[in-house]
Structure formats: structure tokens, C-alpha cells
Symmetry: C4
Subunit: 210 residues, 4 copies
Amino acid sequence: MTSLHETALPVPAASAVEALAAFGRFAAARGWVPATAGNFSVRLDAGHALVTRSGIDKGNVGAADVAVVPLAGPIPAGMSAETPLHLARYRADARIGAIVHVHTLAATVLSRADAMQGAVRFAGFEMQKALAGVSTHESAVELPIFANDQDTAALAERVETRLAASSVPGYLLAGHGLYAWGATMSDARRHLEGLEFLLACTLEERRLAP
Amino acid sequence: MTSLHETALPVPAASAVEALAAFGRFAAARGWVPATAGNFSVRLDAGHALVTRSGIDKGNVGAADVAVVPLAGPIPAGMSAETPLHLARYRADARIGAIVHVHTLAATVLSRADAMQGAVRFAGFEMQKALAGVSTHESAVELPIFANDQDTAALAERVETRLAASSVPGYLLAGHGLYAWGATMSDARRHLEGLEFLLACTLEERRLAP
Amino acid sequence: MTSLHETALPVPAASAVEALAAFGRFAAARGWVPATAGNFSVRLDAGHALVTRSGIDKGNVGAADVAVVPLAGPIPAGMSAETPLHLARYRADARIGAIVHVHTLAATVLSRADAMQGAVRFAGFEMQKALAGVSTHESAVELPIFANDQDTAALAERVETRLAASSVPGYLLAGHGLYAWGATMSDARRHLEGLEFLLACTLEERRLAP
Amino acid sequence: MTSLHETALPVPAASAVEALAAFGRFAAARGWVPATAGNFSVRLDAGHALVTRSGIDKGNVGAADVAVVPLAGPIPAGMSAETPLHLARYRADARIGAIVHVHTLAATVLSRADAMQGAVRFAGFEMQKALAGVSTHESAVELPIFANDQDTAALAERVETRLAASSVPGYLLAGHGLYAWGATMSDARRHLEGLEFLLACTLEERRLAP
């Protein structure tokens, strides 16, 4: 049965593998995927995504380091425990074409500091305009924070329930890291860079006025 | 009429494109243009500048990512909303040959912290000598801060009114970023690097004595 | 006698030298081996390790910059004074295949700040899962700290006595730096990166709430 | 007379130029020579040094960017105002073969914070052993700080008077930057990296307990 299922999987284009590899090189150069942390994916079609495997060096991703995963499962062996978080996002929003997850210092520290409030709030930053749909700094952006949970299927459900009412293309897992997505890998990366910059600025401001 | 106007636009030399591309690679390597932020320009002649387009990866600028813009307008489609800030500077000072704008953490945080005072003040730093016309550290430099505004034409007018009385080759937009300029791209970059270093040192000193 | 002993030393495979060189390039790019600091090793067989020499640029390690060292000694001339710390680890645990030691800012500062407590404690970080044997963030990790000592043979004995009761693949020397190890160089590097990330996050949290 | 004097200048070996160029690339990659700041030199013989020119990009030094300078003067046109500080060091200590000066954030901030005390003090750091003549962390190192002065000939005299009683291979100019030297360029770089690491750690410790 597994072999029948696998036969039906689409063959990813080289460009899809390269999109994951290029993002991985970028993230590794910035130190955002330490200790093989992080995972990235791109949507292949209405029912499948290409996702990085677990435990690999994210700065050096090749064709053997990614796997085609049906959005409805089953999840192949060797995938990250966080794969359900990717799949649930793709199922919930057909416009999403790419999802990236990294471990940055600012994301980790602020996700713990503000865990009780359930969100980090940004206001008055021009960089808020890097997020799709934001056209002015005269607004406020709430980046949701979720308690971390090793039961990622249950976590995915809690995440999706709350995201239904959020227009921000990302969220934090407390003590864990940052997720961001977009219609394309370029959009996902722009959202991630924008959110990370906002988090880093906010962390600096907390240091000045703790 | 637009097509007649476009016919009259000068063809930029490859060296002008490369000046923008080289600065972009430098700025991207330092993380100063996250999420496609930032914009750079060089003057082509008395009436035109070559300016980076909006929404492109500033670390990978090619000939298709820049456009010739008449200093008096009109501004072509696809340009950054901040293009008027560049054009107004070129019109106000014929000695300016290049303008760069980046989003750094120190610039963003200090531009918010000192927004009410309207300037960040530096005194006693040898690095002040990186700014054209400064020959000793025994002086004070006031880097102007302007409130951010999505109406960049109105903002450009406020900026130019105040800059008429400033000799510092740069300014901050609150919560937004740093602008710097010079007679050549080398001068603009030196001014930007010098101002950013002064901002980073000042931010450190605030942390020690908040 | 020395010459007989040297004759018996195994010839390291090129891959063993390259493992040390590749780690050195990685560490140097991150600024973790300033001023020729740091030392790394891989186990060659049950009785020998390949160890970097003292005083060399750790970012540019070649075949002449490493030496085969018997785990039971004697230690050849030109080796780091810290070589006994490597040998003692290999002797104590046959599963260890690689050991790395670097000087990072977070490791140095926290190893001094928490020297009296004898450990830095991490809890609630997803990154704890980068350490072999840790499967959830809902746990606590204690990274041992030892007082620095120029008598490294005596220091190695104190270290091994305490490590017999520790499952964490690393330790700190106060005011000195971080050691980490693993079954392979990949594992040692993952443990080092994970511990350094945990230290950097903890240092940030101390800044926010000193 | 000038032309006779210039005829007598030694021709620097390509390796001397490359030593300056290689150090410049290293320093630029770390952001230690922003805005064309910094200057480096190597001794050519008992009476001459090869010194970087003023205003050049220190990350891209070529044969045209350096000049042979007699230790007793005169100093050629186009040299940095700080050239007398290099020459005075070479005249004072025949063992010095290379001198490097960079502008780092930690050096700038601590040189201002501790200017009144006239020194930054390090104790208990293993990294102190990176300095020639230091064999244990159980010692204290005093890095001298001098008030900055645009009259660098007078400054050089004050510096040399005090350095006669110092064994530390470096000093700070307040609000300006860090100087370090050694028998070879490798030694000078090791001393610089070691001192910068000690300064960066000390700055961190001040943030934790301001």
C-alpha cells in the first residue's frame, strides 16, 4: 500500500529543490538554522508539498535531503516532527506556496518573554510594510505566540484555529522559533526577514528600557 | 507624451548600474537591506538619476532592477515610494552624486528613541572625521531625525527645508532607517558606514547607561 | 624508545584531517576561534586521536597542523596545553568520536557569571533537543562549569570525575570557553552549535532581566 | 634633497604588500575598518616601514595603496594623520615587525567609558594568554587608554613615554580605536584578536552589571 501511494507522488522540479536549498544557504549564513534546526517547504500542487528532512545540515540541502509529502499525510519516515505544522498551513490556505521555519535569537528570547501575553506587538515601524497587505507604518502588527508542544498534530490544530483570525504571515512557538510563509518562496523569505528585523529591533528596545 | 519623454532619457553607463549593484552586495552582506528594504541611486546628469526599483532583492541588483528617473519627475511605475526623497536631494544640491538608504537596527532603534528631540548627537568620536568637512573629534555632529510619513512628497519638502541648514551628509526617518549621500558612491558609502558606526556605538553606550 | 613509539602511530586518513579543517573553517567564519584559540580532535582508533597543534590559525588547518596523539600519551611537542582534556574524554567514553573546543563570547561571559553555581541551567528551549538523548523541551539541561586551571592534567581528572554523572555532551571552563563532543564530528558540531545557541539566548535573557 | 631621499627608499617585497592586504581583508570582513578607517604597517628594515595610505578601502589594499615611510620621516603626502604613531612604535622597539589599528565597537565604547581611569583591566580570562609573555589566566592585564589628539606627533610622544613601562602589546585611543603590534603580522593579528575578544567580553559583562 505504501508503494502504491509512493508511486502516486509527484516528482518535484529541480527548481523546487533549489528554492529550498537557496533559502537554506541564506539562513545558514545568518546563523538562523544552528545545530540542524529549522525546516522549509514549498507547495508542489494542490495535494503535496516538498519538505526538508530532519537532522540534515540546512545550509547544504540537496535532492536527497527533501521529500514529497501528501498534505493529508501519511508523513514519510525521517521527516521533522514539525512537518504537521507545515501541512496544516497549506491545507488551511490555498494561497500559500512556501513556508519557512528558523531559530533566531530574537525570536527565541521574545517568544519566551511575551509567552503569557500570547503575542509580540509591533507599531510604528516602516518594516511592517514588508508584510503582505500592510501599506503604512501607522498600524499595529500582532505576531501570535503559541506554547511549544511536542505533540505537533495537536499544536497544529491550536495554531490553525487562531490563525483563521490573523492576517500576519507568521507566528512564534515559545522558546522554539519563528514560522513565516507566502505565496512564493520570495514572499516567505521577505516576511521572515521583515518579522526577524522587527523582533530584533523590539529586543533592542527592551534592553534600553527593560 | 510619456513616450516622447522616455525617448529623451539618458542611457546609463554600465558603471552606474555596477555602482548600485556593488553597494547592494555590500549592504546585503551586512544585513542592512532586509526584506527587500532600502534603495540607492546615482546621478546620471544634471536632470536624471539612476534609482533601484521597488520590491527587488537589493543584494542582487542587475540592469533590469534599476530605472532612469528625471529629477523633476514623472516617476516611472514600479519605483519605491521613497524615490521623491532621492530626487529632492539631487535637486537641492548639485554636488551630490550618490544617495543610499538602508534599514539598520541601530538606526531604527535610535531614530525612535530620539524622535522627540529631532536628532541624535555625536561628540568626541574620531569616526566623526569620516564625514566630509569634519577634521577633528573635538566637535559635535547632529544627525537630523524626521517623523516618518507615507506621503513622501510632503516628507521630502520638510526634509529639504531643514537640511538647508545642516552640513551632515545624512538623516534618519523615525522607525524607518538611515539616508546618506556624497559626491560619489564611495563618499556616500563612507558617510553611511561612518554614521552607522556612530549610531551603533551610541546605542551601546545607552545600554550601559540607559 | 620515542622513535619506536612513533613508528607505531597510525597514519590518519585524509578524511580525518579534512574533518578538522572543515570544522575549523566553520568556527573561524563565526569568530569562535579568535587569536588561534580553540582546539579540535577526532578519534582514529581505540588508542589514538588526531588533534590540532597549538598556535596555528584554526580557520586554515592543513595536514601539517595536526598530530596523531596516543590516548595514553606521551603528548608530542607543539600540542596545546589542553590536549589532556581531549585524551581523558576519549579514554572515559568509547562512544566519543570527535571533540571540539571554541572560545565564544556567550560561553566566556556566562562561564564567569555562573562559576560559583558550577553550571548554567537551560529549561524550556526547543534547542535542548539538539543534544543527544533529549527528546522534549519540557526538561532541564545543566551544562557543567569547571574552574579554569593551567595544570590541565589535574583539571582533566576533576572534569572526568564529575562528567561520569552528566549526560550533557559538553562543559564550560570558567573564563575560558566551551567543550562539546559526539559520536561523529557532525554530532560534536551539532552539540556545540546547540549549546552555544542556548548560551547566547540565556545571555540575552540576563540582559533583559539582569 | 627629497628626491635623493626617495631614491634611497627600499622596494617592498610583494609579500610585505600582501601581508597588509590580507590583514585588511580579514579586518573588513569583521567590520573593523568602517568608512576607510584603520591603518596597518609592516617593518621593511631598520629604517623603514610599509604603511597603508589614507582614505582607501582597507578591505581592498593593493600595491598603489601603500607607501614606504622612513621611520625618522619625512612622511610622504597622502598618508594617514596617524602615521607618526606607527613610526614612533617601530623606533621605540626594534622587535616590532607589524602594527595594526582598527575601529571596533567594543574598543570605541570602552575607551570612552574608562578614559578617566586610563586603562581597561582584564583578569581571569584564558584569552589573556594570546598576548606574548602571558602564560596564565591568573594574572591581570592593563590595556592603556590615551586621550585622543589630532596632534598625533605630540600624542605619539605621550604614548611612547607610558608604553616604556607597559608589556601589553596594544593600547586604546579614547573614542577612536585599538592599536596592536607584534614581531610578525601573525603576532600583531593574534594580539589584536585577543585584545578585541577581551574587550567584547568585558563590554558584555558591563551590560549585565552596569
